[in-house]
């Protein structure tokens, strides 16, 4: 892992052979026989998934396969009806205290950024630290500037989200989540609302984040990103996990016909 890192400082994309070890093996998140319905529609069917600390998962699949619903359940933005989900040993159930605790530990990045348009970039970043973590304002602002530097837009701090480009907005959204010092980051198609030339700047930030050891769960169709950083790739269809493998085997030697069809469709051009 060490030599992998030094080697990859310039070109992180070529690390095919040695995927980073799955963190320290400590369990971070587990989903056990999770089922969810939207009305009569059975959207998640018997999902079993375990994620270790430091692990990076990429979830892909056709639209309507339930992949977004899956990660929204981990943050309790959606409620599951059967099975158990626990994050950092906290079980997600109707207990509001548990939900609050989990949300503090889990950061989420949305497809459409969902920045608060009435607040400046800096205020977007300090809102949750001040009101949830009770951080003094000055400290919160220092931390916000630190993360803005990491996503390479400290000069935009005083602007409003509407004044930024899509790529800049998504980077602000990532920084906003990082300000809560989360243990896990969830990404819900973070690049699919962006113009092509802005996708790279967001992916670069995510690659860097992965390299620092963040536990990540990404719903994305960026297969280059999956090859680069993922420890495991999960393919979902019709509300269930069809195939789960390391990126090399997943892309080069898919086991399931359904996966092959999907890969041939998205990689054909």
């Amino acid at each position: 892992m060490e030599n992998g890192n030094t080697e990859n400082t310039e070109k992180p994309a070529q690390n095919g052979g040695a995927p980073p070890q799955n963190g320290n093996g400590e369990m971070c998140m587990s989903l056990n026989a999770v089922n969810k319905w939207y009305g009569e529609f059975h959207v998640l069917r018997d999902i079993n998934l375990e994620v270790c600390t430091g692990e990076k998962l990429v979830v892909c699949g056709p639209s309507g396969s339930g992949k977004s619903t899956l990660i929204r359940c981990i943050n309790r933005l959606e409620e599951h009806q059967e099975g158990r989900i626990s994050v950092n040993g906290i079980e997600l159930n109707d207990d509001l205290k548990h939900i609050d605790e989990v949300r503090r530990e889990v950061g989420m990045v949305f497809q459409h950024f969902n920045l608060f348009p009435h607040l400046t970039v800096l205020q977007n970043l300090t809102l949750a630290p001040i009101w949830v973590r009770k951080t003094p304002k000055n400290e919160a602002e220092e931390m916000a500037m630190h993360f803005l530097k990491r996503v390479k837009i400290p000069e935009q701090a005083a602007k409003y989200p509407g004044q930024l480009s899509g790529g800049q907005q998504q980077r602000v959204a990532i920084a906003r989540s990082l300000c809560m010092k989360p243990k896990v980051m969830l990404f819900d198609e973070p690049t699919s609302a962006l113009d092509p030339e802005m996708i790279k700047e967001v992916l670069d930030v995510m690659v860097e984040l992965a390299r620092e050891g963040m536990t990540m769960l990404c719903v994305t169709h960026e297969m280059g990103f999956a090859r680069t950083v993922a420890d495991r790739v999960i393919f979902m269809d019709e509300g269930q996990i069809v195939e789960e493998n390391n990126p090399e085997d997943f892309f080069n030697n898919p086991q399931n016909d359904r996966t092959k069809l999907f890969l041939s469709q998205i990689l054909s051009h």
Binding site: F41, Q81, D237, E238, G239, V242, N256, D257, R258, T259
Partner: protein
């Protein structure tokens, strides 16, 4: 090479507690303790309000007979008191008066004239809502610009050699209908002109149109009606004489034209810039551009806005009560103050309110549906 074949797990029905009637009750009425408490409070409120209202409106109400005696009953100590329910007999007996005013309720042999007028109107309106009917525009134009003359000829009678019902004898729902219709029809051409003028490049014309529109919008309708009845006669040579109804109609039309102009301006603003540019590129002049390209589209988009302002106008026609015209509300009030039916004003108000509610609610639902339809039509 052949990989495993994907066989999806069969979808199971959702847990019974989350779907169907039970799931609905859980999600909508009992989702939290506070929610359950709210449900209890709402049920208690409903129990307190709905059954007594229904009793008064229907179950204990009287509609038979034709005299006030039907609505009286012997009280405990033998005295004659009001029956516990509504006295719809009153509305029934005075129905013609409430609908067509005093002239027609007094001349029963002539009632066919307003009845025919309303029947014609409804008959003409129906094809507008039939999808397959092709000549909607032509029919619409006739209803707006031709039908008022037919209606006037029938109801007034002079042109057709019928017994004359002068405007000061018009009343009831018929007068409400006339005031609102004349207001909206007369306001349409004025509104189009002022909406175009407000977007004009010429400063004097634009300033005049802004002044005109904002002047009317700032004044309450009642002051406009006072003005129409007090100032209008002063502004014209003394030979010109408007009756009360005509004065109110002029006031309402001018007032409404400002609101119509704003609704149309909304449509003009919503119109894609490309339409103006395309018309310019085709070499159209101002009138051709407006008449052939801009207005047909802008008017279509502004129909919901115009309907909404018509609803407001329809309700506001009741204000003519204050300047002494006998519209539906004033007629109902007057009837409930008559010596015979004294004390039945609640019935008069409830009846009038239901008539207005049916029309306004229907039109607002129609306008909302139209808005949705136009919205989807313009979506990418």
């Amino acid at each position: 090479m052949a990989g495993a074949v994907f066989t999806p797990i069969a979808a199971r029905p959702a847990p019974a507690a989350t779907v169907g009637a039970l799931g609905w009750v859980r999600a909508n009425l009992l989702s939290s303790p506070i929610n359950a408490l709210l449900t209890l409070a709402a049920l208690y409120f409903a129990w307190k309000v709905i059954p007594p209202s229904l009793d008064w409106l229907f179950f204990n109400a009287t509609i038979s007979g034709g005299t006030v005696a039907e609505c009286k009953t012997a009280g405990e100590d033998g005295l004659i008191v009001d029956a516990p329910g509504a006295c719809w007999t009153f509305v029934k007996v005075r129905f013609l008066q409430l609908m067509f005013g005093l002239y027609y309720s007094g001349n029963l042999d002539q009632v066919w004239r307003p009845v025919l007028m309303f029947a014609l109107f409804v008959g003409l309106m129906i094809p507008l809502f039939v999808r397959s009917f092709r000549k909607k525009l032509l029919l619409g134009a006739f209803i707006v610009f031709g039908f008022p003359f037919v209606a006037y000829a029938l109801v007034h009678g002079e042109w057709l050699g019928l017994p004359v019902a002068d405007t000061d004898q018009w009343g009831g729902f018929m007068l409400t209908f006339f005031l609102a219709s004349v207001g909206i029809v007369g306001a349409l051409p004025l509104g189009i002109l002022f909406a175009l003028g407000r977007r004009s490049q010429m400063p004097v014309i634009r300033a005049f149109c802004i002044f005109y529109i904002e002047m009317w919008r700032a004044a309450p309708l009642i002051t406009v009606l006072y003005m129409a009845s007090n100032l209008l006669p002063l502004f014209f040579p003394s030979e010109v004489d408007f009756d009360k109804v005509a004065r109110a109609m002029i006031g309402i039309t001018l007032f409404q034209s400002a609101y119509t102009a704003e609704a149309i301006r909304g449509g003009l603003q919503a119109l894609d810039r490309g339409q103006f540019e395309a018309a310019d590129a085709l070499g159209f002049g101002f009138w051709k551009k407006s008449g052939l390209v801009v207005l047909p589209q802008a008017l279509k988009i502004s129909i919901p806005g115009i309907v909404n302002s018509f609803i407001e106008l329809f309700k506001d026609t009741t204000l003519v009560l204050i300047i002494g015209l006998f519209d539906l509300l004033n007629m109902a009030e007057t009837a409930s103050r008559s010596p015979e039916w004294k004390g039945y004003d609640l019935e008069a108000y409830v009846f009038t309110a239901s008539v207005f509610f049916v029309f306004c609610f229907g039109m607002s639902k129609y306008s909302q549906a139209l808005e949705r339809k136009l919205h989807t039509g313009h979506a990418r």
